[in-house]
């Protein structure tokens, strides 16, 4: 029942974005993909979400052949750096979207959706903002809504692509603490992309340091920090 990423490769034209990335994360784990820009971390995350397709390699998750499934059936909540909220919908409609597009026989009732939206807004600490539009929210609030929207579908996996990259330092700290709390509350397997090592070490159980489309080192934050295995990792962590 774990997430097994095995030798995944991906090229964009002639540029190799992933050169055989592999790692294993336990079910319910919290993994950070950490690395400089161009190291392939976002590409790997988008492959996990079904938004990009691997050239070779395999991903198994909960005994499913993950890469054979289209994005819409993976049930993997995705949080984007630029929020990607539906601008023309209210906060409540944004969060309810994933429930409303379900086929009739698995779609919750209107009342159930309303109470689920309320519950999620409480979880991300934005109670009462149902009727607002995204343009009426601050950056931090928008990203909280995006997290609630991704959680609404009761995802098998939560994928976050530099979710706090566009926010100021204080809001980042609050949000990452909340993200950790939400993870511990829901127990959903989480993969989190960042180029900020402090953020990666503060929030994750496991850190994968990436360089040139490969994973340079993978392990618990304390181990990676204590024993950097390559010159690149020690340099990156001391920067």
């Amino acid at each position: 029942m774990s997430l097994t990423v095995d030798s995944v490769t991906k090229k964009f034209g002639r540029f190799p974005a992933l050169n055989g990335a592999s790692f294993i994360a336990p079910q319910g784990g919290f993994v950070s993909l950490l690395g400089p820009s161009g190291s392939g971390k976002t590409t790997l995350l988008r492959i996990l979400g079904g938004l990009e397709f691997a050239d070779s390699g395999s991903v198994r998750f909960a005994d499913l052949n993950w890469l054979d499934m289209p994005a819409r059936t993976r049930n993997a909540g995705f949080v984007f750096q630029q929020y990607a909220l539906f601008k023309h919908m209210t906060v409540a409609d944004n969060i309810a979207f994933g429930l409303r597009v379900r086929p009739r026989n698995t779609r919750p009732s209107k009342a159930a959706i309303t109470s689920r939206v309320k519950e999620l807004l409480d979880l991300v600490q934005l109670p009462g903002l149902e009727a607002r539009y995204p343009s009426q929210l601050s950056g931090g609030q928008r990203q909280r809504v995006a997290v609630a929207r991704a959680l609404a579908i009761e995802p098998r996996m939560l994928l976050l692509d530099e979710p706090f990259g566009a926010l100021d330092a204080k809001v980042r700290k609050e949000l990452r603490a909340d993200l950790r709390r939400i993870h511990d509350h829901t127990g959903v397997t989480t993969v989190f992309v960042t180029h900020d090592q402090e953020e990666a070490f503060a929030v994750a159980d496991l850190v994968a340091v990436m360089k040139d489309g490969r994973i340079e080192q993978y392990g618990a934050p304390a181990d990676v920090r204590r024993n950097p295995r390559t010159a690149f990792v020690s340099e990156f962590l001391s920067a």
Binding site: A71, N75, F80, F97, G98, V101, L159
Partner: protein
């Protein structure tokens, strides 16, 4: 002290006055005056003469034909335009720039040339002409030819309006919808369409205005059969060449009215659309 300093973008008063007069004068003489004259000529012999010219059977047939051609061409070009803009804005594929160039083709080719192309393809001496004639299918000098020519000439309007808008909006929202379990059709209906609706309406209006007013391409394929294959613009020319000035200007006035209605709707939309675009860009 302050009076000495001018904003760097502020021009002297005489220059503003000169440019303003020039622009307003130009518009008045070249655009407004002819429009007024069209209505004046149409009403030169009184309202009843104007009305008689309008309800004359051949004129009514021309109005009906123009509206029919637009009613077929505009919805088809709306669908084609959305499909083209969607594939260009949301997908990467080989030959994308070529496709964009191709969409602009009707703008750069003279309408008469595009009409002639249809004659070459469907005409009696054309590629498909003899075979179609064997099956008693008439494309040229009939409604299908007029519709085809109209579609060709008005193709770019919807696509051109939507492409920059959809490219600017990116794919994030569609990707988010997919990860939340929406099908392609649900994503289009619930996410993409609401985001482009004002731009789409604007493109459809422009497309409609041009479809009603198209002269060159339709002129080549229509055959000018009075009361049968004459559209409004062709009918205006025919009446005018027959020295029926009241008739010509009456139909022209109606055509101008349709144009003015489109213009009014367009301004209304621009005003709405600007509002909404501003909301989108506030992000």
């Amino acid at each position: 002290m302050n009076a000495k300093f001018r904003k760097p973008t502020e021009d002297p008063i005489w220059l503003k006055a000169l440019l303003g007069t020039l622009a307003i004068g130009f518009i008045a003489v070249l655009l407004l005056l002819p429009l007024v004259l069209v209505f004046k000529e149409a009403l030169a012999h009184g309202l009843s003469a104007f009305w008689a010219a309008m309800v004359e059977p051949d004129s009514l047939a021309a109005v009906r034909l123009s509206l029919t051609a637009a009613a077929i061409a505009v919805p088809l070009n709306t669908v084609f335009g959305i499909a083209a803009a969607w594939s260009i804005a949301k997908f990467d594929f080989r030959g994308k720039t070529f496709l964009v160039t191709l969409i602009d083709l009707p703008f750069s080719v003279s309408p008469v040339v595009s009409g002639l192309i249809y004659v070459l393809v469907f005409g009696a001496q054309g590629w498909f002409g003899p075979r179609l004639a064997d099956h008693n299918i008439h494309i040229l000098f009939a409604l299908p030819g007029i519709v085809l020519a109209t579609i060709f000439v008005t193709f770019p309007f919807v696509a051109r309006e939507l492409i920059p808008l959809m490219v600017d909006q990116g794919r994030d929202e569609e990707e988010a919808a997919a990860t939340l379990g929406a099908s392609g059709f649900q994503t289009f209906l619930r996410v993409t369409l609401p985001n482009i609706k004002w731009g789409l309406l604007y493109g459809v209006l422009l497309c409609n205005a041009r479809a009603l007013g198209e002269f060159g391409a339709v002129s080549v394929v229509s055959g000018h059969i009075r009361g049968v294959t004459n559209t409004m613009p062709l009918h205006v020319e025919l009446l005018y060449n027959n020295y029926d000035y009241v008739g010509a200007f009456a139909v022209a006035a109606l055509l101008a009215m349709l144009g003015l209605v489109t213009l009014a709707l367009k301004s209304l939309l621009e005003w709405r659309y600007a509002d909404e675009l501003a909301a989108v860009h506030r992000h």
